[in-house]
Amino acid sequence: MALVALLLGSACTGAAPPRAGTSVAIHEHDFRIDASAITVASGAVSFDVHNDAPATHEFVLVRTDDPDDRLPIAADGISVDEDVLTSVGELSDVPAGADETLSLSLAPGRYVYFCNMEGHYMGGMHGVLEVTPDA
């Protein structure tokens, strides 16, 4: 049924991203975050987060035009100051080896995701996601 809708939708709207919602696969490592997409269409987006690392990690998404490695830093000098950012959503505790999903409805714009456990952001756990207007 979903497939039929998908095919019909494609036939009608040409190359536009599907309306049914997009999923982005996120793989977290010590200390790196890999995403399956760097651009998604606005609307429903689900982040399927898998933690490949032995350590516990977070997945925090904020809307910002700052470069992903230049986010405002808190007093400890190594963590992102989340208080001055607009958090769109987060998974605060993804245990080692676990899969968790964060489902959001995203407006068009620029987003940055990162893990804000001590030393992890600066260790390299961040990335950018562009959300394009729905065609």
Partner: protein, 767 residues
């Protein structure tokens, strides 16, 4: 010895369980302590990493610090956490503790990561240490150090969290197992307590037994039986003190037979040192009573301390009394104390065997009490028991002492006369028994009358016990049939009757199942016109081997066995069906009715009315065309209930007749209580009409007067002569039946008769 071994067996498992519990608890405590240490060491890594970072920075700023010491501890702890080993205690400067390595794969992964990050941290520290704040790239290196420090903190927290969770889960398991073991321990403790108590009880019993044995008499005698030593326990048994007995003959307190026996035992034993024997005999107490004792006699002649025969003697009087009582119970009826059936049979066996040898004629009297059931049902079983005991006493008193009186069943007694030449003795005993039973019994403060029916059988040459008892049984039934409170001698025909009855019982059920029963109908005729008014249905049995049987051959047996109920139901249904068919077949016979006999047993059946209603419904017969015949005798059974049933039958529209009227003892007042339509005058009165007896017509006239008083109709039965028919008609009797008109006939012949008519004078008239 055996007891201590058993105790060991009881205690061993208990100690195993207790050891298990204690051991496990110790293990659990050690585990917990170990887990706590690991958590402490793991948590300390964070502090160490922070201190290391701080010390490196201080050092680069020219302030003395010892980051290498922090670095060493970090490395050592990381290794100990992974693989186990000695670490510096968290509290207290010098103490060291030993921790065990991680075994949870997740914890190991985190600790591996921690170790890797510590290495990187220390590496970053090593690069920073030679620098000062002025050195180019210092800020970048410093940030690397702090980021790595943060990462070590983070993974260290992570590992502590996982170790704590593991420890909590392990603790929960330890607690669960601890509780389970505790329960097991409690069960083991209770079980051990019970076992110990039982063991204690056994030991106590054995001890008691030992003490009891101490009451045995110990006597030492020489070969002649003179007492050389006597234990003090002799006094209660013999009534004489040990001192008095010394020097006297042990055999002196025995009777002659026992004395000879024990003397022989002594002599025989005296010949063989060490030999032992057991003897049971009686000794006389000085008060004249006898005690049963049992001795183990041992020859201790060659024991220099004894030099005699040792008697170990026990008083077994109570045991013997119990044995005698048990033997009595096995052979006697516990209620009356008379011998039981088994013993009676045995005595008859002996008498029969002896009779063959000595040409005697044993006789068996079998008594069945008449009216016992009434007492039992009316006054209760206790009263019944009391009566049986009293009867037993009278029977015992009425026989000769050599005769055996037995109770062989519920209310059945038997007397065996060992020799009864020419049956005079049996007759005398039977008459005496009947006579002693005429005096009423006092049971529960009431006078109770019972009678006995007695069957007598006398053994002739070759009679077996079974035959003798069976013959007496047959004779007893003959006596019962003959009117009770009487005796009958067995004659062979009784046996045939009993046999025939036995066969009939078996056949009846089969006959019913195979539809072997048929109905014959005897016309009932209007005495004035000769026309057939109705028919009486009479059952016949087409027996496969004995031919067509009249009711007399099977009805009484059917009454006894209860087969009369299904048979009666069939008769009722079939008679209704046939009559309805006749009535439908010819408008001239639309008023034909049928008369059906009801037995006493049927009348007492709870569902009689339903059965009648069902027969009428099934056949479609008008209720008024069915007449039910009852005997006076059956009306007198359960009068109240019967009256209710008869009224219900009347309400159905059925007519009721009294059969064989005049032969029973029904009183007019009773008859008035029942809704009777008709009296059937018994054949015996009709027979009188044929004879030249002037009273004959008077009796018939009296019955007809009664009928008129009761406003009921009459049918005369058994009319065989025209004169009888005429007399009856003239006296006012309207209908009758008998061979003069027709015998009972199969239905098809009755059908022809309707057309031909039955009147012997006006043979051509139509019915």
């Amino acid at each position: 010895m055996r007891e201590s071994r058993r105790l060991r067996w009881i205690l061993a498992p208990y100690f195993v369980v207790v050891t298990l519990i204690v051991g496990y608890n110790a293990h659990a405590i050690a585990q917990q302590r170990g887990s706590a240490l690991v958590v402490n060491v793991a948590a300390r890594q964070r502090a160490l990493s922070e201190r290391y970072t701080k010390d490196v920075i201080l050092q680069t700023q020219g302030i003395a610090a010892d980051p290498q010491d922090d670095a060493e501890q970090l490395r050592a702890n990381a290794d100990a956490l992974l693989h186990g080993g000695e670490v510096t205690a968290v509290q207290g400067a010098d103490a060291t503790v030993v921790i065990h390595g991680a075994d949870d794969p997740l914890v190991i992964a985190k600790l591996d990561e921690e170790q890797r990050l510590i290495a990187k941290l220390l590496d970053a520290g090593d690069q920073l240490l030679p620098m000062s704040q002025a050195t180019p790239g210092y800020a970048t290196r410093l940030q690397d150090l702090r980021v790595l420090g943060g990462q070590v903190n983070s993974i260290s927290n992570d590992a502590v969290g996982q170790i704590t969770r593991d420890a909590e889960a392990a603790f929960a398991r330890l607690v669960a197992i601890g509780i389970a073991l505790g329960v097991l321990g409690a069960i083991a403790a209770v079980a051990m307590g019970l076992l110990l108590r039982r063991t204690a009880a056994t030991q106590a019993a054995q001890f008691r037994s030992l003490v009891h044995h101490a009451t045995d008499l110990i006597t030492v005698v020489d070969a002649s039986g003179a007492i050389r030593y006597q234990s003090p326990s002799a006094e209660p048994v013999l009534g004489r003190s040990a001192e008095e007995l010394l020097g006297t003959s042990y055999l002196g307190s025995l009777d002659a037979a026992d004395r000879a026996h024990l003397d022989a035992v002594f002599r025989e034993l005296a010949a063989t040192p060490g030999a032992a024997a057991t003897a049971e005999y009686r000794v006389r107490h000085v008060d004249g009573s006898w005690r049963n004792v049992e001795s183990i006699v041992t020859n201790r002649m060659d024991d220099p301390n004894v030099r005699g025969l040792v008697l170990n003697t026990r008083d077994v009087t109570d045991r013997r009394a119990l044995q005698d009582e048990l033997a009595h119970q096995a052979f006697h009826d516990p209620l009356t104390g008379l011998v039981n059936r088994a013993v009676f049979r045995d005595r008859v066996d002996h008498a029969v065997a002896r009779a063959a040898r000595l040409h005697q004629q044993p006789a068996v009297l079998l008594l069945d009490l008449d009216g016992f059931k009434t007492v039992n049902d009316g006054l209760g079983h206790d009263a019944g028991d009391e009566l049986l005991v009293a009867v037993g006493h009278r029977l015992q008193a009425s026989g000769r002492s050599i005769d055996t009186v037995a109770r062989i069943g519920g209310d059945e007694f038997a007397i065996l006369l060992e020799d009864d030449a020419r049956s005079a003795g049996a007759r005398t005993v039977a008459e005496r028994v009947l006579a002693v039973l005429t005096t009423p019994f006092q049971v529960r403060g009431r006078e109770v009358f019972v009678r006995a029916s007695i069957g007598i059988a006398i053994a002739v040459a070759g009679t077996t016990t079974d035959e003798l008892l069976r013959n007496a049984d047959a004779a007893m039934y003959a006596a019962k049939r003959g009117g009770k409170a009487r005796y009958e001698f067995f004659v062979p025909i009784m046996h045939e009757e009993a046999l025939a009855k036995f066969e009939v019982q078996g056949d009846l059920d089969r006959g019913l199942a195979h539809s072997e029963f048929v109905l014959h109908y005897q016309p009932i005729v209007d005495l004035a016109s000769g026309s057939v008014a109705g028919v009486e249905a009479l059952v016949r049995w087409r027996h496969p081997t004995r031919g067509l049987l009249p009711p007399a051959a099977f009805i009484s047996v059917a009454e006894e066995t209860g087969a009369i109920v299904p048979l009666g139901a069939w008769v009722l249904g079939e008679a209704c069906r046939q009559t309805a068919e006749w009535r439908r077949a010819d408008p001239a016979r639309a008023d034909l009715w049928v008369s059906v006999n009801l037995s006493t047993r049927q009348l007492l059946e709870a569902n009689l009315v339903t059965a009648v209603r069902e027969s009428l419904r099934a056949s479609g017969l008008e209720p008024s065309a069915l007449m039910l015949e009852l005997t006076e005798g059956s009306l007198m059974q359960g009068i109240t209930e019967t009256a209710v049933k008869l009224r219900e039958l009347k309400e159905l529209g059925v007519r009721l007749a009294i059969d064989d009227f005049g032969t029973g003892a029904s009183s007019l007042s009773y008859l008035r209580r029942f809704p009777i339509d008709l009296l059937k005058i018994d054949k015996s009165f009709v027979d009188e009409l044929g004879a030249d007896d002037p009273e004959g017509p008077l009796l018939v006239q009296a019955i007809l007067d009664i009928a008129r008083t009761l406003h009921v109709d009459t049918i005369a039965e058994g009319i065989e002569e025209e004169r009888q028919r005429n007399d009856l008609r003239d006296a006012g009797c309207r209908t009758g039946q008998g061979f003069l008109f027709a015998r009972p006939l199969p239905p098809e012949e009755v059908g022809m008769l309707f057309d031909a008519g039955v009147d012997p004078l006006e043979g051509a008239s139509t019915g």
